[in-house]
Each structure stands twice: as C-alpha cells, then as structure tokens.
C-alpha cells in the first residue's frame, strides 16, 4: 500500500467528477483528497487525486480512468519530480490578550496569514505540504481549533510543458 498522487485532465462537463470518483469507490478505495478546478486550457479541468492502494490496483484504476470518454490525460506524478501544495483555513479560539498574541506568533512562524479577526476567534490561512499543515494544526490545538478546512492537495510535475499543452 502506497500513496499515489494522480493528476487527471478532464473535459469540464457535468458528471465527470462522479465518473472519476466512481471508479475508485467501486473498488473500495478511499480517496484521501481530491481537488478540481479549471486549468490552462478552456473547457478542461484538472483533478488531483490522492489515494492509497497497492500498485496493481492503482494501475488498473488508472487504465480504467483512461477509458472514460471525458478523461483526456492522466499522469501518476507520485514517482515524478513534482511540487505539491495544500491550503487550509483554521479557525482558532483566541481571546484578546495573551492567548491571541501567542496564536499570532505561531501563525507568524508558519507564515500563515490571519484573514479574519473575530471577538474570540482568528482565522488563519496556510499553504504548504500536508506535514506543515498538520504541524500547525497540532500547535494550535491547545488553544482550541474550532473549524478547519483544507482544499486537498494540488500537484504539478516540475519543469517541461504540461500534458494539456501537448494535446
């Protein structure tokens, strides 16, 4: 069992996400994270899927993904040189005073931005790899993490042109 990051270039059409995710759920895979958005080519979207599974099963899912009419290109970038990022928003309990300044210090060390200040809360925005987000979250926990949301990982292969421009 290994973590795979699969980048799927798809037609930006209704139902395409269900088609893609259905191939995973059918085989009992749990998707760790999934991020979708439009990409550099109009009419196409790029989906980044993080999934854990054995190589043979993942290989089969990749081939099945390739068979979907709305899938244009898929790349397993796990083994390739790549960059990956995730964005998280964290709402922390932070009463004005000492607690709040401590939270702000932690945010500073992690280069997290404070994007909302409430009467008793702060919302932090952070970007990074999953480990960094996890580390930040752990440090904030003692103050009270009220809500946390993450985008799911997005990833790109380093260097060279992307698959869309090669079409």
């Amino acid at each position: 069992m290994k973590q795979h990051i699969i980048s799927v270039l798809v037609e930006n059409k209704a139902g395409v996400l269900a088609r893609v995710s259905g191939l995973f759920s059918r085989r009992g895979f749990n998707i760790e994270s999934l991020a979708v958005g439009t990409c550099e080519t109009p009419g196409m979207s790029r989906i980044t899927i993080v999934v854990i599974g054995n190589d043979m099963h993942i290989e089969q899912v990749k081939k099945q993904l390739n068979k979907l009419i709305d899938v244009i290109k898929i790349t397993d970038i796990t083994e390739k040189e790549h960059v990956e990022r995730e964005l998280a928003l964290i709402k922390v309990h932070a009463e004005p005073g000492l607690q709040r300044s401590e939270v702000m210090q932690v945010a500073d060390i992690f280069r997290a931005k404070i994007i909302d200040v409430g009467a008793q809360t702060l919302v932090l925005e952070t970007t990074g790899d999953p480990e960094k987000i996890f580390a930040l979250e752990s440090l904030l926990r003692p103050y009270g993490v009220l809500e946390l949301v993450r985008t799911g990982r997005v990833a790109l292969q380093r260097g060279g042109p992307g698959p869309a421009s090669r079409q």
């Binding site: 037609e11 081939k63 390739n66």
Partner: protein, 565 residues
Amino acid sequence: MKTGAAILIESLKEEGVEIIFGYPGGAVLPIYDELYDAELTHILVRHEQAAVHAADGYARASGRVGVCLSTSGPGACNLISGIATANMDSVPIVALTGQVPTGMLGNDAFQESDITGITLPITKHNYLVKDARDIKMTVKAAFYIAGTGRNGPVLIDLPKDVLTAKVAEEDVISGEPELRGYKPTLKGHSKQIKKALDLIYKAEKPVLYVGGGVIAAGASEELVKLAELFCLPVTTTLMGLGAIPADHPLNLGMLGMHGTEYANYAVSETDLLIAVGSRFDDRVTGKLSHFAPHAKIIHIDIDPAEIGKNVNPDVPIVGDAKSVLADMICLAEKNGCISEPWLEQVKSWRKNHPLRVVEDGKVHPQNIIRKLSELLDGGGIIVSEVGQNQMWAAQHYGFKKPRQWISSGGLGTMGYGFPAAIGAWFAKPEEPIVLIAGDGSFQMNIQELATVAQYKIPVKIVILNNMYLGMVRQWQELFYDRRYSYTELPPVDFVGIAKAYGIEGMRVDSVDQIDTALKTALTYDGPYLLDFQIEREENVFPMVPAGAAISDMIGKHNHNGGSGP
C-alpha cells in the same frame, strides 16, 4: 423549425438505423408521435428489458449498433440488466430514455429516475441532453463510441422539453463530434508483434485462447489463417464460439469451467498461450495461479485496461484483433507446423476424453442439441438462455461461423435469450433462429411470446425442461449435500401457454420423438415451441469447481482408460 424528437429520428436515420425496439410512456410521447409515420421500424416488445436484450441480440447477430427506447423512470430502470449485460459482453447498443423536463430534474418528479447516474458504471458512456440543438451531435457521438474501440452500450437521456423544443435548422449543431479523450488504438505495435512471432517460432506446445474480441473484430478468418500457418490448437471462450469452425481439426472447443477436458489439459500444459480478445475471466481460468502455469503469455486486446488486469503477459499487444492478426500473418518469416508431438498429444487427449454423451433411451439434453446441430448442419443462429441449457448448447452445437452463437456470457442474465432471439431474427431474417432455453429462464421474459406472435417471428423455442433451476440445483447437488433449496419448479404447460398466444407447440417426452419434433419445428412456417421433458437431474460435465485449477475437473469422461495429466 423542427422539434427535438424530429431531430432525434432524423439523426438515427443518418446513423443507418432501421429498427428500434421499444416501449412507450409519457416522457417519450413526442418520440412516439414522430415514429407514427417515420420510415423506421419500431418493434413493440412487452417489457423494456426485452427491448434492450433485443437490441443486443440484433447487434450481436449483425455486428451493427442496436437501438432500444424506453420512457423515463420505470421504463428506464427496466433497461438496467440489459445494459449491464451488453456492457459485460462489449455489445454495441444505444439506449434512448425519456426523462422529466429539465426544469424538474432532481425534484423527484413523476417517473423521474437519475438514469445517467444509475447507469454510470454499466455504460461505456452516457449523455443527458439538455438542449435540443445538441441532439444530433450527441447521437452521432453515441453511435461512434458504442461501435468503435471496445464496443459497449451508450445511453442518451432525453428530457421531455428537449424533445418538444423547436429548433431552427441552422441552429442544429452538426459535424464531427469532438472526443479528445477517446482515441482507441487499433493497430498493434509492430515491434511487439515481432516479439510475439519470435515466441511462436520457439514454442513447443502453443495454444491460441480466443474470446469474443475476435468475433467483435470480425477477425475469424485471420485467426484461422494464423492457426493453420503454425498448426496452433485453438480453444475458445463461451463468447468466442464460432471464431473457428467446430469441426476444424485444430479446434479444441471451449475451455474453462465447463470446457472440454482436452482444452483444459492443453491450456494446463501449454508453454505459449496466445490470448486474443479474451480477458482471463474467472470462469475461464479457475484458480489463476494454476492457469497455464508453464506458459509464456501473449495478450492481444483492444482494451489496454485488460492487459495485466488478471495476468501479466510477456508480450502485450494493444490493438484490434483483425488488424493485429493480419499483421502477424504478414510479418511471419517462418511457417509450417512447429509442434508435431504436441499436436499428437492434443489429438490423443481429444480421442480419450471426449464430451460425454449417453444413449440409453432417456431424453438427454446433449442429444437434443446434437440432433439440432445435425439437422441444421451446424448453421442457423443459436441463442441461449442461462444455466445448464446454455452450457449444453455451447458444448454440443457444431458452430461453423462467427455471430451464430448469441448468449449472455459476462453477466449470465436469465431472460436474455428469448428477446435476444427476437432481435437476432430482425438482423438475419433469412437464417433459422433457435432459442435454447431452460424452463426457469424462459419464464423470465415469457411475455415476449406476445411480440413473437404479433410480428410472426419464426423463432424456434427449444425448452430443455428439467423442472429445476438446473444449474443452481447442480451446485446444490455437488457442493451443498443435495439440499435443493428453492430450485425445484412446478410443472408448467408451456405448450398451452404458447397456444394461448396463438403459437404452435409440442411437448416431447420420449427419445423417439426428438427427431420428428425438431424437424416439425424447423420446417414449420412461423414460431414454434418445443417443450422437451429432459432427465431432471442431468448435470453439465466436465466441471471445474469454482476456485479449482482447470485441470481438476469433476465428471470427467475417460475412454479407453486413458487419464489426463
């Protein structure tokens, strides 16, 4: 200005559609209004499941895309097992379904069901058309997708307001559909083909293992040529029957769970297995680790996802079977029988372990099939239901050509055969059409007797009546201590039922009636039903128990005391 429904019918005609199997309802009223005076034959079945199976039977018999039509909700849902059947066996069909108006989608409107959602995993692709201007292009894309690459079912869901919307001619979107993500590979890689040939030159005990892909690709001629070029014994799957004539000296018949002993022995001993258009299904391989254990494997398939799915081949070749086999023949630098001792070995297995037939004055189903095969000289189109009847037909009919054998393989759908036979007849009205049915399966779509009567479809219905869900009973006998839990069926007067629909028939109780009964049915001008009362506890042998190695068959038949490997 044209309505969406009119554009639909026009688009279907442009695709060369001549016949639609369907059943009306509220959501498709606009389509039926167009059909009222369209130059397109519509066959009214009696259950939507029959519409989709008939479209499937039509497609398998003709090689063209079959079309079925149903209303929304219950009509669409009745198509599901038929779509799944076509999907499993890679049959090109286009299913048209009505849908509630776009404004009501997702509101649980009357007779709404999310049919594109439901059929997502059982179609090659599906469409929900939300704008009448897109109908033409969608139909075009659907036919292209269904009938190219690895064939399969495509569904088009048509909301009622899209069907009634009026569109100006110049607003109809036409031209070639843009399918950036769909580029099937047809031509095999020549380097791989040469590698495969090198393995063939070196092989001492080669076997060709042939599936439905060869039939779908129309590659039988090339297959037989290649086999003859090197004297390669050929075994086929259930789906591959007819790819090589049954009486061809290199043909070993079917392999797998109910394959011939000699085919299973050959595969167990082979040193080079050449899989063409076959997918190493568990009913074929038995215990995978014991399947062709000594063999190098060449796997030729149009679907890259099949390569390495169950077995890792030494030489994978992605491509259309016809093209790849033709290239193999073309690029071959040697020929001639490369394996005399192997052929001798195979011949002796065949001689010493033939399929079992018993002539003891009782009505054995195998003998009925053999007689039928003799009377039709291995011709006609033989459609089967599912169960023992299917296996006896597969084992004992002497198929001569591809597309003669129509049977639900991957899904094993009871109730498939009868409507599929109807569809097959519309594809090949000049051919005799025989349905081999079990008493259980036949009752799953028995209402189609009405369709057969209405359109005077001269299908000959051969019921191998054991008053059991025989195949399940066989498993209960062998693996559940003969505890026949809910598999016994009370007697049914099938001839009486046929007569009620205005169809002739005859009940057959004894061996000496078999010949005349079959002759009567075959020469009768119109549909005819034969209800054969067969030996009730007859089993299908040989049999590889689920999960066993395919050389480990039960119910083996040893002539001359010879034994298998």
